[in-house]
């Protein structure tokens, strides 16, 4: 919607007007009716935007430090129930957040509903497992080297699945990816080399041992794994943020808002859809590799399609198109069953219901996506307008009598 009425409200470039525009612009496709209502976190984005750059950085650094310290502080109320080790829970949350950030590129930026994201997660896990576990007959490489290999292989799978289906309408993609998610699990069962339920044990981990000779990155020690995953998450976030602000990101958002219009305006939609799909798949493979390294065991049982729907729920709950929202959503979906073990059994029911309710009442999720490009465009326009107005006023009334606009 904002594509059309972009420049019009700029005549009254007062602070509140601009702020309201940012709020309204920051909604996923077309939900303009819901957009006017300021939600639970409606004012947060505006306040954040209003802060000076230095304060934003300071705040961010504080948050990052707190995130790193999370498993060490182990805050009493937030900590998981006794059965679940808190640092390991942190690692799970970080992996889910990474998954959500990757899926957010596909769903949130490019607007492609990928219901079989678990397949890429599985491919990443299996690549790592087969290249490091003594149970497989492949050649062995160090764990850290499997991470780029896993990403490359999953990106290849993403292109393989994307090329036939991305030429079609978006909803076919949903069902094909859903099928693909299920097929990968079935193939892992049927193909002997993937060892079905037996799976792969003793998957590799990064090198290093502590004073007593125990590996630092052992399966039960969540903290180093969490730090590794968090670091990778931050790197992926920075890269994804750059992509979002680049030409690629603008094209994705154009495709999401209106594919036909984007195509007409010269965006090679197919190419950019495949890119979104492949990059999203790569991040999925990356998180799969991290997860399998920490758990140390991979079998077909973990990769059912229902988990894939939970991934979608994480992105949608957090706010499709918003990186911070995706992290929040991913971490929440992983955290809630670990924190409240009594309801863990019903997590699928709860998050299924959450999907429906969020879509009906707050289709932009907890944190709405801000279309920063448009917001920046408006800021720039407002700045130019203000300076030219000031010049005009100066010229008209002479010095000393500057009219404030």
């Amino acid at each position: 919607m904002s594509m059309v009425d972009g420049p019009t409200p700029l005549h009254t470039a007062k602070a509140d007007q601009a702020a309201e525009d940012r709020g309204a612009v920051g909604t996923p496709p077309g939900s303009s009716a819901a957009a006017r209502r300021s939600g639970w976190f409606g004012g947060l984005g505006e306040k954040w935007q209003a802060l000076p750059r230095q304060k934003q950085w300071l705040f961010l650094i504080l948050v990052v430090i707190l995130a790193y310290l999370l498993p060490i502080i182990n805050p009493p109320l937030i900590s998981t129930e006794p059965g679940n080790d808190f640092p390991l829970a942190c690692q799970t949350m970080a992996v889910w957040a990474l998954v959500a950030v990757g899926l957010n590129i596909v769903i949130g930026y490019a607007g492609l509903l990928d219901l079989g994201y678990i397949a890429f997660f599985a491919v990443g896990s299996y690549v790592t497992a087969m290249l490091t576990s003594p149970d497989s007959t492949f050649l062995k490489i160090p764990y850290l080297w499997t991470i780029p290999v896993a990403m490359a292989v999953t990106m290849f799978f993403g292109v393989l699945l994307g090329v036939p289906t991305l030429r079609l309408r978006g909803d076919y993609l949903a069902i094909v990816t859903l099928g693909f998610g299920e097929i990968v699990r079935i193939l892992a069962t049927i193909i002997p080399a993937l060892k079905g339920q037996v799976g792969f044990q003793n998957i590799g981990h990064p090198p290093g041992t502590d004073a007593s000779g125990i590996p630092i990155f052992s399966n039960s020690n969540g903290t180093p794994w969490y730090w590794l995953t968090l670091t990778i998450l931050i790197i992926v976030l920075l890269l994804a943020g750059n992509l979002e602000r680049s030409r690629v990101g603008r094209n994705w958002i154009a495709i999401r808002e209106d594919e036909d219009a984007a195509e007409t305006m010269g965006v090679p939609t197919f190419k950019y859809k495949v890119w979104a799909f492949a990059i999203g798949a790569g991040v999925g493979g990356l998180s799969g590799a991290l997860m399998s390294g920490q758990v140390g065991f991979v079998s077909n049982a973990k990769f059912d399609v229902v988990t894939s729907i939970l991934f979608v729920a994480a992105v949608v709950l957090g706010g499709a198109g918003n990186k911070v929202g995706a992290i929040l959503g991913g971490a929440l979906v992983a955290y809630i069953p670990l924190r409240f073990t009594s309801i863990a059994e019903y997590k699928y029911l709860i998050f299924g219901l959450v999907l429906v309710v969020v879509m009906i009442y707050r289709s932009h999720g907890l944190l709405a996506a801000r279309q920063q490009l448009l917001a920046y465009g408006q800021k720039a326009y407002a700045a130019v307008k203000a300076s030219s107005d000031a010049k005009a006023a100066k010229a008209k009334t002479g010095p000393g009598k500057e009219a404030a606009s």
Binding site: A34, G111, L355, M359
Partner: protein, 336 residues
């Protein structure tokens, strides 16, 4: 690096897929008849997808749950009537009466689920004029919600098997027996689909459905009550899914499970796409074809899990080669 990886492939990797052509030749006709039986069940479910897609342009992911609710309807009715794992000793008339009762309950359960789904999940979205992605995600969420509500109530295990009657061979074609069960399912399904086809092409409501499928706004201007048409479409899909549920439990007595509709739903959708989504005859053709292909594939490759893989590959191939399906997508445009 890749050549190195390839040479490191495990030795047993070459045997993960085998083509058992003699077995297929031997069982060709029994696979055909069985495939047609499964195909008619797919076709009935596929009709639900096709009709809703034609009218709303929405893949109703929750249709598989509409179907599984019908299965539970059949299960509860028959276990209440005293059916068990072995076929009951009843006269033919009594069996028919019992099955008809189960059919009615299944149809009511499925149609009610479809009705509530439309009212509670999709209608609020239409009021808000939500984009397609929001509809799709809601459909997924609704499917999940129903599935895991059943899970919370009935647990993860399949319900105990129910045998409705002892299936007897009736006559022999090409050296293969045809069972009464297969005959009942195929004939009943085809009759239901013909009725649906007639209803949509001849009746006043059917004309309304086609009008809304073609152009909702113009249809509204011409005096068609769009909301009523949409709810009718959902209910028709539910009725057909309920009938499919009876046949499904007849064919696979132990198939009543909270997530039993999921894969069948994907296959039925693939059938709808194969025949041409939005096309009523296409659903029948697609369903039968997919049933046959799946069964041949399963025997050729020697593992029942291959059916799903084959069905999925068929879907992708169809989308690649002829995305509009064999008969084309034309609920609105069929002989207006």
């Amino acid at each position: 690096m890749i050549p190195t990886l390839l040479t490191m492939l495990p030795a047993d990797d070459s045997t993960w897929i085998t083509f058992d052509i003699p077995s297929l030749m031997q069982n060709f006709w029994s696979a055909t008849f069985d495939g047609l039986t499964f195909g008619s069940i797919y076709a009935l479910v596929a009709l639900g997808y096709t009709l809703v897609y034609g009218v709303l342009n929405l893949i109703n992911f929750a249709h598989s749950e509409v179907f599984i609710m019908g299965c539970y309807g059949v299960f509860f009715t028959l276990s209440y009537l005293g059916f068990g794992p072995s076929a009951p000793n009843l006269s033919v008339g009594a069996i028919i009466a019992n099955l008809l009762l189960a059919l009615v309950v299944a149809i009511c359960a499925s149609a009610l689920t479809a009705f509530l789904l439309e009212r509670l999940a999709y209608r609020p979205l239409r009021k808000r004029n939500a984009p397609r992605l929001v509809f799709l995600i809601t459909a997924i969420g609704a499917s999940f919600t129903i599935q895991y509500t059943i899970f919370a109530v009935r647990g993860p295990n399949p319900e105990p098997a129910l045998t409705m009657f002892k299936s007897n061979p009736i006559f022999e074609v090409f050296g293969t027996f045809i069972y009464d069960q297969q005959l009942i399912i195929v004939i009943a399904a085809v009759i239901m689909m013909v009725i649906t086809e007639r209803f949509i092409s001849k009746s006043r409501t059917g004309r309304g459905i086609r009008a809304v499928a073609q152009d909702p706004d113009t249809a509204t201007l011409m005096g068609v009550n769009k909301e009523k048409i949409i709810i009718t479409t959902f209910v028709i899909g539910g009725i057909l899914a309920g009938a499919a549920a009876l046949f499904y439990v007849m064919k696979i007595p132990s198939g009543v499970q909270y997530n039993g509709g999921f894969i069948l739903g994907i296959k039925a959708f693939a059938a709808a796409v194969l025949g041409g989504i939005g096309n009523v005859r296409g659903a029948l053709l697609g369903g039968l074809l997919l049933g046959l292909i799946g069964n041949y594939g399963q025997i050729l490759l020697g593992n029942s899990q291959w059916t799903d893989v084959v069905a999925f590959l068929v879907l992708v191939l169809v989308l690649l080669v002829r995305p509009e399906g064999i008969l084309g997508t034309s609920l609105g445009r069929s002989k207006a």
